[in-house]
């Protein structure tokens, strides 16, 4: 069982050292999660940075170290979802005929596959559950706990996302 941060094994750590110790193993994943949610590396870097800043800002509120990962995940998802809503970044990929920058791993992979193109059809909430479920291998229950929503809502969003993506994938299969 993890001890509360205030009396844990690293009691001599400063808050900053403790935060960076917990952040280290998670930052790649946070960045990748943001990348597949937003579709662009630069946007992902910005969003992950915002999430880290938010996490640090609220680090006092985290009592158990083993909650750091889902806690950070939730912040990343919320930041990305807000960005998608606020800026209305609907497409995951550039407009047709425009090649994504070679250095952008997210835009490239999302542009080359029908799944990536189908993902851009999803709204922020559906996109979040799809990426958490299929990319991050999170169960419905884990997603529900992470996002603070009922499991039924997660299931509904997954089903709705499948309904939305299906025509794009079937069109690819049929060669059109």
């Amino acid at each position: 069982m993890e001890l509360p941060l205030t009396v844990g094994v690293a009691a001599t750590e400063s808050a900053l050292e403790r935060f960076e110790r917990l952040l280290g193993p998670e930052i790649d994943r946070a960045y990748q999660l943001a990348g597949y949610l937003l579709g662009h590396a630069s946007e992902a870097e910005d969003a992950a940075g915002e999430a880290v800043a938010r996490a640090w800002d609220r680090f006092d509120g985290l009592r158990e170290e083993d909650r750091f990962r889902p806690w950070l995940t939730r912040i990343v998802v919320n930041v990305c979802r807000d960005r998608l809503r606020r800026r209305r970044i609907a497409p995951f990929v550039p407009l047709d005929g425009v090649e994504p920058e070679a250095a952008d791993p997210f835009a490239t992979v999302l542009a080359r596959d029908a799944v990536g193109r189908a993902l851009r059809l999803l709204g922020p909430d559906q996109r979040a559950v799809v990426v958490l479920h299929y990319w991050d291998d999170r169960s419905v229950g884990e997603i529900a706990r992470t996002m603070g929503i009922p499991s039924g809502t997660v299931k509904w969003r997954l089903r709705a996302a499948c309904r939305r993506m299906r025509p794009e994938l079937e069109r690819e299969e049929s060669g059109r």
Partner: protein
């Protein structure tokens, strides 16, 4: 392609997708974000980590009660959460250069578009702030010396704050004092603002919503202070009980605030009115009330027993003699106006007063929906919702609160709005806040909303003629099913309706949260919403009491093909 095949396809895609490492810039907090020291210190900087802290608040709790209110249309009139008890006087002039300079020192102006003015019924509707409010679900207004503070809230994002001087440009301000730790589960709401001897004091609540419609949410009071109305800081309060603050007014010696009532399905909690000299230390008064408003040095409280109490200083209260039950009270430049409920006639009426002590009858409204109300353009202005006669919301205006005139609202406005909204007098017109549902919701909670802000003034030559309500062709439905009227008749036979007409909506259950129904997805049903009386609330006036909403709504699922009632969903359970 079946769902599991599609899932495998998506999983395979992600399995072969790259997992690039995070840039080094993300691996450590920049020194500008955190500085070493005995305790950590937070500094906001521009750039990657200098993100705008647009905070959030939420409009969580857009629950069945709201739906019910819109349907029933009796209570819930008046300003919604976030509105101030002190409307801006008509003719408010823009701030001068000095205040403008103060505002620009906070943040650059937010680029915002302005639409064409659409005229109809003597009024012109012009959308403002286009683009500035993306992702915002609701707006609330609070007048300050420099202009109008606009608070943008969402159930899923942090609160944002703007200042507008002219109603078209919106300067974004630092909203971090209104930030929530997690806007999805904990929302911060500002509900009132007053300028008094200790400067600006704003009140509100930290709300943790419960299950929609269950009344299980909890609130705690919040107070903020500002010297200029633009830069805010949270205040530690003493003497306030649990519960959210709903309104505040200023006196010559301090402030008077009322807590919002909190309700569950079976009980309600109301609190005393509190007074404070500085916004930090609060003392309870003997008056139990749910709202305070002020006009010309007089303060009127809407008491928990559907009456009014009056004071000038917050310490000595008197109770005017009233023959009817008061359900709402607001203040305008001419004085106070209160909505009352005539139980015998089941009619809403209006009474008026210049000092809060002597009240006169001012007219009888219809028993249809009375939505938001404000005083603008030398008239009382009411946003009236749809009812049995009117399919759509419209504006009704009156100079004497006796004779009312109706103005239709252009389709350019209503075409992207849900019923309801709220109004705020501003300059020589008023601002109207409308909301559009932009994603799927559930039966008890709206889906994601997008707010639209309209500036309404007297129409003049050159305005674009507004479009009337279009006539729609019948929505394509599968053949062989029963009609909406038949479905309503079937539902009404099971649940006799006494309050208002039921309405039906042809849906597939897949459109609802599957937790709320046992009916298989993709099954077309008529969801007929009917209202049934809450136990123990029969005959009681709608008003600030546990029977504030004396009816609860249930959805009767009528099979589209067979006409059988296949499920009943009670929002109160």
């Amino acid at each position: 392609m079946k769902n599991d095949e599609l899932g495998q396809r998506v999983r395979a895609f992600f399995a072969t997708s790259p997992r690039p490492p995070a840039p080094d810039s993300l691996r450590r907090l920049p020194a500008t974000v955190v500085s070493a020291g005995p305790d950590r210190e937070r500094v906001r900087v521009p750039g990657v980590f200098g993100v705008r802290r647009w905070a959030g608040l939420g409009l969580a709790g857009l629950v069945i009660a709201a739906t019910l209110a819109m349907t029933v249309g009796v209570r819930m009139a008046g300003p919604r959460g976030g509105s101030t008890g002190s409307p801006v006087a008509p003719g408010l002039t823009p701030a001068g250069p000095s205040s403008s300079a103060a505002a620009t020192s906070v943040a650059p102006a937010t680029p915002a578009g302005t639409g064409a003015p659409y005229s109809m019924g003597g009024l012109a509707w012009q959308e403002v702030g286009i683009g500035a409010f993306d992702g915002v679900e609701d707006l609330a207004f609070f007048p300050v010396d420099q202009g109008l503070l606009v608070l943008g809230t969402s159930r899923t994002a942090q609160t944002r704050l703007w200042l507008t001087i002219d109603g078209s440009d919106f300067q974004e301000l630092d909203a971090s004092p209104f930030r929530s730790d997690d806007p999805v589960t904990q929302q911060v709401r500002m509900t009132g603002l007053a300028k008094g001897p200790a400067g600006y004091i704003a009140v509100g609540a930290r709300v943790q919503p419960g299950k929609p419609g269950s009344g299980t949410g909890t609130s705690s009071p919040l107070v903020w202070r500002s010297t200029d109305g633009l830069r805010w800081s949270a205040v530690s309060t003493r003497g306030l009980p649990a519960g959210g603050l709903g309104s505040v007014v200023a006196t010559s010696t301090g402030y008077v605030a009322a807590l919002s009532p909190s309700y569950s399905q079976t009980s309600g909690t109301v609190s005393p009115v509190f007074t404070s000299a500085d916004g930090e230390s609060w003392q309870a008064t003997s008056v139990i009330a749910t709202k305070v408003v002020s006009h010309a040095g007089h303060i009127v409280a809407l008491t928990s027993n559907n009456s009014l109490a009056v004071t000038d200083d917050g310490s000595k209260w008197t109770t005017p003699r009233l023959a009817t039950q008061v359900t709402s009270v607001t203040a305008g430049p001419d004085g106070f106006v209160a909505g009352t409920y005539d139980q015998a006639a089941t009619k809403m009426s209006v009474i008026r007063s210049s000092d809060g002590r002597t009240w006169t009858n001012a007219g009888v409204t219809s028993n249809s929906s009375v939505g938001a109300m404000t005083y603008a353009m030398s008239s009382w202005v009411v946003l009236a919702g749809p009812d049995g006669v009117h399919d759509r919301s419209r504006i009704t205006t009156s100079q004497d609160a006796v004779t009312w005139q109706e103005s239709p609202i252009p389709d350019q406005v209503l075409g992207k709005a849900m019923p309801g909204g709220h109004l705020m007098a501003f300059r020589n017109g008023f601002l109207a806040v409308m909301q559009a549902e932009i994603g799927p919701g559930s039966m008890t909670e709206y889906g994601p909303l997008q707010v639209h802000l309209w500036w309404v003034r007297t129409a003049r030559p050159g305005d674009v003629p507004g479009a009337p309500m279009p006539t729609f062709s019948p929505v394509a439905t599968p053949s062989g099913g029963i009609t909406e009227a038949r479905a309503i008749a079937i539902a009404s036979a099971r649940y006799p309706v006494t309050m208002t007409a039921p309405f039906g909506k042809l849906v597939t259950i897949g459109g609802f949260d599957p937790k709320q129904t046992l009916v298989p997805a993709e099954t077309p049903v008529w969801a007929v919403i009917v209202l049934v009386a809450k136990p123990g609330c029969s005959g009681k006036a709608p008003g600030p009491s546990p029977c504030d909403l004396p009816y609860t709504s249930i959805a009767v699922m009528v099979d589209y093909y067979s006409g059988d009632i296949i499920e009943v969903v009670d929002s109160s359970k």
